[in-house]
Homo-oligomer: 329 residues x 2
């Protein structure tokens, strides 16, 4: 079935004339007549009764019309969904349960009219994500490239928001009862953060954390999925892990895991957003505004060196970074 035929049918039904419909569609009356005839042949029903001054819907035609309209509208949406420059804002996140996705969800809930596509590129290397941004495959990506030289031309990186870390432990862990924790209390406890790719920004983050606070962070070993991690934590009396405060984790009620904020200082993982320097998606503006409106972390905050080095935008509070938003057209 040809969607052009459906379009012709809808227009002809609305106008009550093949002639006029043909004119609007930029083809001859005969072409429209053939399209309708083909449709009728395919459906094996008559859609129009032909009268002296046009056409009139049969009952079958009346029943068919709303469906045809729906299909035509669907095709329209389908095309605009991928049309470069018109499609929905497409933002890459690390995972659908990450704090990034939560923030995006919040944004969408407060701006339901925003056309937003949340995708996961399924690549680890942030440089690959940056390349995807450069190529226009995605309009923005919540990734951090710690080495500015690795940023492809045409892509810039701006601070997005700080994700505070929490300790996640099972009920048998010695720290399980704490309401909050300060870094010194975590010394000598084993912190297990599996699946950290070597030389990634996460590896660097935990390296600095380990050094600055004299911790035992075990970032080695493959990650077999959140389920395995959570199962292990639930049963273990001495293993803990770190998660973002806004990351979504779900576990069976029996696990009885505890999330304990770390304070004095709060450990903040600074999330960045990669976006094209030129011709950013118009929908980005709203997202950036939303990001700048997020409240800053309260109290004393620790960040990794790259977030405080002037080479990458300097140590500026997220709440006072309007330039990033303003520079977007």
């Amino acid at each position: 079935m040809d969607t052009e035929a459906l379009r012709s049918f809808v227009r002809a039904a609305e106008l009550g004339q093949l002639q006029q419909a043909a004119g609007e569609l930029g083809v001859t009356q005969q072409a429209v007549s053939k399209r309708i005839a083909a449709l009728e042949r395919e459906l094996e029903v008559r859609l129009f009764t032909r009268t002296a001054r046009g056409v009139e819907l049969t009952l079958d035609g009346q029943a068919f019309l709303p469906h045809a309209r729906g299909v035509v509208a669907g095709v329209e949406r389908a095309v605009t969904a991928v049309r470069p420059g018109f499609r929905a804002l497409r933002v890459d996140v690390l995972g659908l349960r990450s704090a990034q996705a939560v923030v995006l969800h919040d944004y969408w809930r407060s701006h339901p009219e925003a056309d937003l596509d949340v995708v996961t590129l399924r690549v680890n290397d942030p440089r690959v994500a940056a390349a995807a941004v450069a190529a226009g495959d995605v309009d923005a990506s919540f990734r951090t490239v710690t080495d500015r030289a690795a940023l492809p031309p045409g892509v810039r990186m701006i601070p997005a928001f700080d994700s505070p870390l929490e300790l996640l432990v099972g009920p048998g862990h010695p720290l399980a009862a704490a309401r909050t924790l300060t870094p010194p209390r975590l010394r000598k406890h084993r912190i297990w953060v599996p699946g950290i790719a070597p030389r990634s920004e996460w590896a660097e983050f935990y390296d600095q954390l380990t050094t600055d606070f004299d911790l035992r962070i075990d970032a080695a070993g493959p990650h077999f999925g959140d389920e395995v991690l959570l199962d292990t934590l639930a049963d273990s009396p001495d293993v803990a892990t770190l998660v973002g405060a806004r990351d979504r984790y779900v576990w069976p009620v029996g696990h009885d895991l505890r999330r304990i904020p770390v304070v004095h200082p709060t450990w903040a993982y600074p999330l960045s957003l990669l976006l094209p320097e030129t011709n950013p998606h118009p929908g980005l503006r709203g997202l950036l505004t939303h990001l700048t409106s997020l409240p800053a972390l309260p109290g004393e905050v620790w960040r990794p060196s790259w977030a405080t080095s002037p080479g990458l935008g300097g140590p500026r509070a997220v709440t006072t970074a309007p330039e990033g938003a303003e520079r977007v057209r």
Copy 2:
């Protein structure tokens, strides 16, 4: 855009292979490849990345897929909406505000899963409606053919339900304050029922009513629409009309019209249903069951002669007419 191409795209995306998709669709791999290529050319984006062991959706492909699914499903629905034997049950009513439509609406509300199309044939002659039933254009029609010989072959008529009449008057009418009315009290009052086609079953109904109860029913004159009728009633101190108790009429609050039931006896307009004798629509069964489950009119009931003559099914209560339903396959 060709919906076959969309179908191929969806299937290929699900299977991750053009080859298999081609097999399922009954065409060669090359055909599917060309369809996808055409789609990509039309959309000006790549939908798949080609790998050694199949295809994988690009981000654009991922964004496009749900829309493509929607369109394919829409086409499916559109086709079944008119496919003879599979389409929704299509019932003709005199008007969307008539008691018939109200009953159908009740039926649909109690059976939301029933696929029901309520249509108005926009013809006055019940024989034309009967012909539409015979031709299969509609599956049933709430019409009454008083002369059995006028029923086309293959169409039968069964009693549907009785519609009790009420007097509709303006606030200035002498009967406006009555809670109920008996026929003798209506004598000498002018009852205006415009738009009755001569020799129609409605004309016959009012003829018999006039004769049996010695009324002044003025059934002449064209009907300029309910608005005109209601406006006239609202202002007139001596004009009344008859409406079905379940007919939906709406008027401005200022009109202050009154609906007054007629009792001892209740005047019942017997509604009938025309339906094909053979191969009725499967959905009809549920509707007929619903009709037989409607409560009979309470008290003393008057009906026109054709509803009580044995030639057309005899005087039987609607509530005791299961044969009609049972005989439907």
